[in-house]
Amino acid sequence: MTDLENSLVLSNISKQYGDRFANNNISLEVVGGRITAIVGENGAGKSTLMKIIHGSISPDSGNLNWNGKILTKHSPAHARDLGIQMVYQHFSLFETLSVQDNISLALGSENLIGEPSILDRINQKCEEFGIVIDPDRLIYSLSMGERQRVELVRCLLQKVNLLILDEPTSVLTPQETKSLFGVLKRLADRGVSILFISHKLYEVKELCDQAIILRNGKVEGSFNPKKKTVVEIANLMVGEELTVPKNFEKRESETTILEVKNFYSDNSGSFSTSLKDLNFDLRAGEILGIAGISGNGQAELFNAVSGEGDQMCEGMIEFKEKDISHLSPQMRRETGVHFVPEDRLGRGAIETMSLWENSILTLAVPEIRKKFFLDKSYLNSWTKEIIEKFSVQCLGYAANAGSLSGGNLQKFIMGREILQQPEVLVVTNPTWGVDVAAAAAIHHALISLRDRGAGILVISEDIDELFKLSDRLMVICEGKLSKARSIKSTSIQEVGQQMVGANSSTTLANESR
């Protein structure tokens, strides 16, 4: 293998949107057969850079150099010819088709004929890289981790010299992450270059040979992550002393504030999960975490508590010993229970509406919400307060929600609920796809809300986050909840096992291979 093989050199790449540089004079080098991490806050220019490498955006200036040749006319099709493949953060799979069909669709007709058959080739690749997947299963029945493997196998069956992964571990259990890393290391050993985009600095440290930090569209540094501590990396990334919550005191609280009793929902026949006999209590002044792989009933649980679901359900949801299960979301807010959904755009906020308009959505001040005319001056100052107190980076209260970066929008949505002083806050994936600084701000806000005596229910797929935040932890698997346990009396390994279910068909041995 020569030095040139599978190497990519970017020189002076710039891309400008309006007067903002998404990428500003970026030069970097990806060495063949190495795993390179690209880390940076949201809005640092990572996605733009990946799209330039993948050919879907062309840079304003600068050039790409693949194996010593300058790429003059780059496009996704051309990238595919060169063997540059990408696994996106959001999968593009057809839910109602099987694994094999999805892979066939991506390959194109010329790859489907001839020997060995597509099924054999899938099985062969899976064996070669130690990937466990059943080609006949339908996509909707797969966990996020399994879906990712489908995407991965799809890339592997084509020519692959450079593999780009965008936040690949955000939806995985610890065991799944481990097995993914195994595959990636094996690929790197065969000379494939890998670009790994992640917010999770521990993973970068464990997996990558080289890390490149982007900040405000510029390369801030390049180093060997194995030789730096996580705090050092984080400081390079955000450019200031990191404010991850120090080991704050975990608590055991006694007063129940929200109680769910014998809750069932029946969703059989649809793609969602039925909830089976949920019982738990959330106490005032604690953070109760719910861990689980996505698709195990988290969305249904959230809808049941927020009152959005139209599924058939029975059971009681008591807030301060009063049943609220028949109330609308807005009436629940007025009693003091607030919610932050998983989807920021398209549920928590409306993309094409301004921030002040979005502030109306969950406002639980009856004098304002029940007025016939909108009280614009109240709403404007309310929006300004959210923006200020949660340091939301935006063009003011009239900016469209869609113009904010993910982290800033999440801060806005968090602020919108937290500043209303809820007594119970239910949050799904509070820091999903959010940069370190925003995540820290959100964690701080949640903790100080807890310290003011509110009960907080955090539903998250990020196990590290749950261990960091929660006082007690439950696991949801196939619509059933485990008993809540104090965080001190459980471990990441144990929770990871519960997440895949003791009786699950996929055994742990396979998962952690």
Binding site: Y17, K73, G348, I360, T362
Partner: protein, 357 residues
């Protein structure tokens, strides 16, 4: 090779340029069409678009035609903002005309001041009831409102035809399928002698102002827009989707019913088979041409009225078919929708990619 590329943000310039571009393309296509028919394009276009509004009488007629279109379009704007695809303004207008007309016949001998307002209110009520049928079907059975409203348009037309061929036919009308002429006290007052312009147009302007206030300043208006933009977010916010759907249907039906009642008590003065030359359908075009914005639909309804007048004018002056009006409406909507692509996409001309390696 022509390539459409997604823009980073929607182009504000294009959202203004697109209707203008669509207008120009419509004129060009219309010119070509006239040329193909063997008419001089420039003169015919002049007859179509300029002659009808070159007199005071013409301008008055413009407002007469624009009034029902405008009223229907106001209601449809509310529906479309809420993502409710009410295509039934035509049927709601006809039922409004029928119920209003029936009231006008019954109240013919009344000398009360309230006879006309009552007639109009019953027209509103008729349209509103008609719109409540698809509303109920949609809310209770999740029926697609596009289908039900279109079907109800035909039922409404046949109800009208039944009424004027049967129970409401003028006994002294030589068996023509028409009702008796309404008496003067239930006719809308006209503003000037010898012109047909009536107060309906000003009611329309007033409604436009109310629409603007409604969608920009009130919580309900906000909820309607939010529901249309993002169903999930408005459910998360706890807005009452059923109530909002009812509301927009009823408002739209009521306004279309008012338009119908105004037509029969205004320029027509009796119930006839052809109350509406497709005003309810034209209003759909107007709502989109005006970008669901109050000022936009006011201008668009005037333009649409001009197409009606122009069609009549070229029929009278040059003997061209009246179907040209519908054709122009269609061409205009077609170009508008096509040009709207440019708001979210840009066109790039690229040469076919040559292999590099």
């Amino acid at each position: 090779m022509i390539k459409f590329e997604l823009r980073e943000t929607e182009s504000r310039v294009m959202s203004v340029v697109s209707p203008l571009l669509a207008g120009i393309l419509t004129l060009l296509t219309g010119g070509l069409l006239f040329y193909a028919l063997g008419e001089p394009p420039a003169k015919t276009l002049y007859t179509f678009f300029i002659v009808p509004v070159s007199t005071l009488y013409g301008l008055s007629e413009l407002t007469v035609k624009a009034t029902p279109i405008l009223m229907c379009a106001i209601g449809l704007t509310l529906c479309y903002r809420a993502n409710v695809w009410n295509i039934g303004a035509e049927g709601q207008l006809l039922i409004g005309a029928l119920v209003g007309g029936y009231a006008a016949l019954l109240l013919g001998n009344s000398t009360s001041f309230w006879a006309l307002p009552l007639t109009l209110c019953l027209g509103i009520f008729g349209g509103l009831c008609w719109a409540s049928i698809p509303a109920m079907l949609k809310i209770s059975f999740n029926t697609n409102e596009i289908l039900t409203t279109i079907m109800l348009n035909y039922i409404a037309l046949n109800l009208l035809l039944f009424a004027i061929h049967g129970p409401l036919k003028d006994p002294h009308g030589y068996n023509f399928p028409e009702s008796a002429l309404f008496s003067d006290n239930v006719l809308l007052p006209t503003l000037f002698d010898a012109l047909r312009m009536h107060i309906g147009f000003f009611i329309g302007i007033l409604l436009i102002v109310l629409l603007w206030i409604g969608i920009n300043k009130t919580l309900i208006g906000f909820q309607i827009t939010a529901l249309g933009k993002d169903d999930k977010a408005s459910r998360f916010a706890g807005f009452n989707k059923k109530a909002l759907t009812w509301l927009v249907f009823i408002m739209s039906g009521g306004l279309a019913g008012l338009a119908g009642a105004i037509e029969v008590t205004g320029p027509i003065g009796q119930l006839i088979p052809h109350i509406s030359p497709g005003y309810g359908y034209a209003a759909i075009v107007v709502a989109f041409l005006g970008r669901l914005h109050p000022l936009g639909i006011l201008l668009a309804s005037l333009l649409m009225a001009l197409l009606y007048l122009g069609g009549e004018m070229v029929q009278i002056e040059l003997g061209l078919p009246l179907a040209l009006t519908g054709l122009f409406q269609g061409i205009l909507l077609f170009f508008l929708l096509s040009c709207d692509v440019l708001i979210t996409y840009r066109i790039r001309f690229v040469r076919k990619r040559t292999e590099l390696n």
